[in-house]
């Protein structure tokens, strides 16, 4: 029978890989003990033990930890064009984007342009003032009114400069697929404004050679005033308007259902997407593809009708989900009591995790007792034995010294919770060194491994950025409104966002007199007459 051969083939392979895995395991651990820095490093993140079963690698989704597909977010893939691009195409395209370097500069085109425009606008009043002085001779010098105007001009320019630096000269956090409407509007406004001022200058001041210098100074002062007001407008449009919350966004991750609610103000869809992504990296627990699949024992039990013997390793259960899914369709007519097995499997899994966790905690606590700070040692000289002078170690060596007893427990725990791709031995050692340096307790050291942290914790330093695709039925520069939905897609998962407006609150008032708090007993008496 088909399933029979498949099944037996699988078990052969897995036993084979398991034995080789044990070999590799032992070898790696041996190597790690003798060498500094641990197991082999590839371009991918490295694990303490062998990577997951070979069968899993081919079909497993590529999680965020793989470095392959990080590129620039410059492709415009919105609306209907999204449907025509398949996953492989996207992978290929982004790989190409990786290699081409000019795209790195495109991130900065916008800010550079607006910077130039701003600089031009700031230098214009100075040009207005200095050009007549430099090039003409017939100028009526003006007295006290000009002095006041000079001072105010200087200070207003200084304020403009400082506030522009503070507000606008920041490295951009994201590149948006379409133009940022408000920003381009403001840039156009500034440009038109300064251009019209130059026009009037050339027509009214330059041509007729206006002799009154006071007029020129007043002209320049009015330009600076107007620039200040434009900056106020920019401040309100770009920074302030979206602060007051108006919508509640529900963000759900498609693969495992992790969801959050956020309150945002009036934003366009693309700006809201950027906002959400910033919060995604610190709020959502990291996406672990290995945790998604039901253990094979549940799914295959009703498929083949054969007995399932788990040969040794407990973690062999997440294999061949592809096979299981194919068999699911075939066995639909069988009696379905897989929920029962699922329940027991879950309970068993939980028990296993807790057992490993207990072992890990004990091992770490014990390991931490082997180390003490030198200053603490010196303060209690009675504790130390004068006969064995302890060698003084720096944090790195101390970390390596106490890592050995807890390594095995840590390995087993990470494997049970399927976290091994995220923590290489090197990273664990670094973290241990960090904790020792800062006098952390074992519990603080373990906090990183016991709960899946936010995605940001697992990112490596990478200046290239993350590629997300905004999929939306409406144009992405339109404002958020009720019932609007869009999704943010990466290669293997997506975030679906739905928008609901926050309800209008009508707040009433009720005054409670403090003297009105009086109480009586509830009576129920019976009298004989």
């Amino acid at each position: 029978m088909d399933t029979e051969s498949q099944y037996s083939g699988y078990s052969y392979k897995s036993s084979h890989s398991r034995s080789s895995r044990k070999h590799r395991d032992r070898r790696e651990r041996h190597r790690s003990k003798s060498r500094d820095g641990g197991s082999s490093r590839g371009d991918k993140s490295v694990t303490i033990q062998a990577p997951g079963e070979p069968l899993l690698d081919n079909e497993s989704t590529r999680g965020d930890d793989r470095d392959d597909n990080w590129g620039e977010t410059t492709t415009v893939v919105t609306g209907t064009s999204e449907h025509s691009v398949s996953n492989e195409d996207l992978t290929r395209v982004s790989k190409e984007l990786d290699e081409s370097s000019p795209l790195e500069c495109r991130r900065f085109v916008g800010p550079v342009l607006s910077g130039c425009l701003g600089l031009f606008a700031l230098l214009t009043p100075l040009a207005f003032l200095l050009l007549p002085q430099a090039l003409w001779e017939t100028l009526h010098p003006c007295g006290t009114p000009c002095e006041g105007l000079y001072v105010s001009l200087a200070f207003k320019l200084l304020v403009l400069l400082i506030s522009s630096w503070a507000l606008f000269l920041r490295p951009p956090r994201a590149t948006l697929p379409r133009f940022f409407v408000f920003r381009s509007l403001l840039m156009v406004l500034v440009f038109l404004f300064v251009a019209s001022y130059w026009l009037f200058y050339s027509v009214r001041v330059w041509e007729p050679r206006e002799p009154e210098y006071r007029v020129i100074v007043e002209y320049a002062a009015s330009l600076v005033d107007a620039l200040l007001f434009i900056q106020y407008l920019a401040l309100v449009l770009l920074e302030v308007r979206h602060l007051q919350p108006a919508f509640c966004l529900k963000v759900v991750r498609t693969t495992d259902g992790a969801s959050r609610f956020y309150n945002v103000g009036h934003l366009s869809i693309q700006r809201a997407a950027v906002w959400i992504l910033e919060h995604y990296y610190s709020d959502f627990p990291v996406y672990n593809p290995a945790l998604l699949n039901l253990p094979k024992s549940i799914l295959s039990k009703k498929m083949s009708g054969f007995k399932v013997y788990s040969l040794g390793e407990e973690n062999s259960t997440n294999n061949s989900t592809g096979q299981s899914r194919a068999m699911i369709a075939a066995a639909a007519r069988r009696r379905d009591n897989s929920h029962n097995e699922y329940y027991y499997e879950e309970a068993e899994m939980e028990r296993r995790v807790r057992k490993r966790k207990a072992r890990l905690v004990v091992a770490v606590e014990e390991a931490f007792t082997h180390i003490k700070r030198l200053q603490d040692e010196e303060q209690n000289p009675s504790a130390s034995s004068p006969k064995n002078p302890r060698e003084v170690m720096d944090p790195r060596e101390a970390a390596q010294a106490i890592f050995a007893p807890m390594a095995r427990a840590m390995q087993k725990y990470l494997r049970t919770t399927r976290q091994q791709p995220y923590h290489s031995m090197e990273s664990i050692l670094t973290h241990l060194q960090f904790c020792i340096t800062h006098n952390m307790t074992p519990k603080a050291f373990l906090e990183r491994y016991l709960t899946p942290g936010p995605t940001l914790q697992y990112q490596r330093e990478n200046g290239r950025g993350r590629q997300w695709t905004l999929v939306s039925e409406e144009p992405v520069t339109s404002a958020l409104r009720q019932g609007c939905t869009f999704s943010l897609r990466r290669l293997d998962f997506a975030l679906v966002v739905t928008v609901t407006p926050l309800p209008f609150l009508s707040l009433g008032e009720e005054f409670v007199d403090p003297k009105s708090h009086k109480f009586v007993m509830r009576l129920q008496s019976e009298t004989s007459v």
Partner: protein
């Protein structure tokens, strides 16, 4: 026996005349009352409407004058000697029933079975 605020209360009543019994310087009637406008009506086991704050007979002692006169447990007392008992406090009710200078009390009491009997007779 529920009432609508603002409307007169109508009920089918039975007249019961109880002669007080003298027992070592006390005049007793032989039953216990509960209820009143200062009491908690929700704890009244005999009322149909749990907001009814009237006076109810909670116990009738055996062989007493009340039992002899035909008073039954769970009766609601509407009048005592002409005095209204539907809107009185517990203490006022007790006082009206235990006046030392009266030997006989004439009660108007109502109970559910009376209403049912009348209704069945009318049908």
């Amino acid at each position: 026996m529920s009432f609508i605020p603002g409307q007169p209360v109508t009920a089918v009543v039975q007249r019961i005349e109880i002669c007080k019994l003298r027992q070592c310087d006390n005049l007793i009637l032989g039953f216990s009352i509960g209820g009143g406008i200062d009491q908690d009506p929700g704890q009244n086991p005999f009322s149909e409407d749990k907001t009814d704050k009237g006076i109810y007979v909670t116990r009738v002692s055996k062989g007493g004058p009340a039992e002899a006169a035909g008073l039954m447990i769970g009766d609601k007392i509407m009048q005592v000697n002409g005095w209204d008992m539907t809107m009185v406090t517990h203490d006022q009710a007790r006082k009206r029933l235990t006046k030392k200078n009266e030997d006989v009390v004439r009660l108007l009491v109502t109970r559910k079975s009376l209403e049912d009997a009348v209704r069945n007779a009318m049908v």
